[in-house]
Amino acid sequence: MAPLVVSGVSKVYTVRGRGRGKFTAVDDVSFTIAPGAAVSLVGASGSGKSTIAKMITGSERPTSGSIRFGELAVEGLHAGGLRKYHSRVQMVFQDPYAALNPLHTVEYTVMRPCQNFLRMPPARARERVYELLETVGLTPPAQFAGKLPHQLSGGQRQRVVIARALACDPELIVADEPVSMLDVSLRADVLRLLASLRAKRGLSLLYITHDLLGARVISDEILVLNKGKVVEQGPTKQVLQHPKHEYTVQLLDAVATPFATAGTAPSD
């Protein structure tokens, strides 16, 4: 189990045409994810959080700074090394409707990482798929294995996406807004699943979101991003209850909750 150390990472895009010059998406961001820890990156769109996720998973390269997963220098990885890296660091995507190939069954999608990374023969891979489907709560697995994405609900699709991410037994999961496209009533279940996976398997979790409630519920540490910079950082509960930066205050204000309107505590 290795820690993920992000040091002084920046990403600058050169904008072609109309001479608009350079655009800084991420500006000197540093943080660490210890093995088994859960960290949230919160910010509005354009804050750079998705770019950071892409750099951590190797889809983009930082302009400066370094990303170390244990001994491995992530920013220098290419094809073969990147592939091996994916067996240790996986991603859960935001849009469950877009993250699954509409022509492939659940079984195929979840089986591929088992065959590619764990080198399992088809029969054994199929068994593992069933185990994974059970783990993410898609039971009975036999009922779901042969389904195509359009036959599943949004919550079920997201579970398949999580199952796929778990298939190769990763050490770190980067979850990019995994519940923002789900109905509110389904979010708790998925968050609970992620939390239990973390507890049972010792997974590290990087939770990227603009939803402060989800961040509070799932992570120990929180980083608040604004326009590519980290404006506040610390233990989640503390930062949310005692925000120091005005942007954090703005974010908290913007999260409209039914209780804020009435001023009464939730009845349970």
């Binding site: 509110v184 009533s185 279940d189 968050l191 409630l213 949310l240 974010l251 908290l252 913007a254 209780f259």
Partner: protein
Amino acid sequence: MALLEVEGVNVVYEPTRGQRIWSVRDVDLVLEQGEFVGLVGESGCGKSTLGFALTRMLRPPARLEKGVIRFDGVDISTLKGEALRRQRRNGFAIVLQSGMNALNPVRNVEHHFGDILKAHAHGGEHYPGATVRRRGAELLDKVGLDASVLSRFPHELSGGMRQRVSIALALALEPRMIIFDEPTTALDVIVQKAVIQTIKDLQRENGFSAILISHDLGVVLEATDRVMVMYAGRVVEDQPSKDLVSGPHHPYTEALLRCYADPRADEIHLGGIPGTPPDLSLPQAGCSFTPRCPLVQDICRTLDPPMSPLGHGSAACHVRAPSAAVAEEGVKPVH
């Protein structure tokens, strides 16, 4: 007479292949002049479909199967062509989700205003460039945008600005009712708050009636006077916003409220609703919420509860708001 009176609206969705789906079932609705009502529900509950039905914007394979929609006393449910356009000019507008899709990407904002004003001009009205620009600037000012936006194109504006332009366009004809379909869904969380505040202020200043459709209960409760909750194509609860928070009637509303929490609280109890919404292509016997409801009684499985008055509003629940007809059968209310 209320501005909008809706009785027994049913919308059916008939694809060429596959089952018929009843997206909206037996909805009654009354909207008074100057009232701001919210319509809340999760994906597939029929709220957007209802909004489109009310403004006569349904497209095949969706169809208004039954029901009466009276706007300002005129039944618009069967109007077509010029008669419908006259009513549109007269009274109602709809602001769609995602400003980008509603705006023509190859035309600037000024052209959009010109389009609307000229399309609905009465007999002798003319709209030369200067008039369009003046009126456009007035309207943009109302939504908090500078007149320089007139010369911009949609892709040059941010999401929040595009949404405001859509709202300004809706105001152009001085409608008496505006329906906002998920106005904040595609927007950033901070911009959302600003746009909702703008909508609230506009509604108060200009006095038009409004329906705010959203899946976000928090947003709706913050902006509206009254909330209607939809589930599986039906309205299951109708209450003033303040009362809904402190005392939800329908078990679904209760469960939904439990899915929200204040991230600043010391202890967070985040709920979810087990199960999934029903498949609307199958006939629904009894109350649609039965499989997921903690208060299920026998009658819930056989009889679909009607909306019955309760407290300051009404709810469709045998247990919480038993109707007179049901009371005869001897179901005791549980509270």
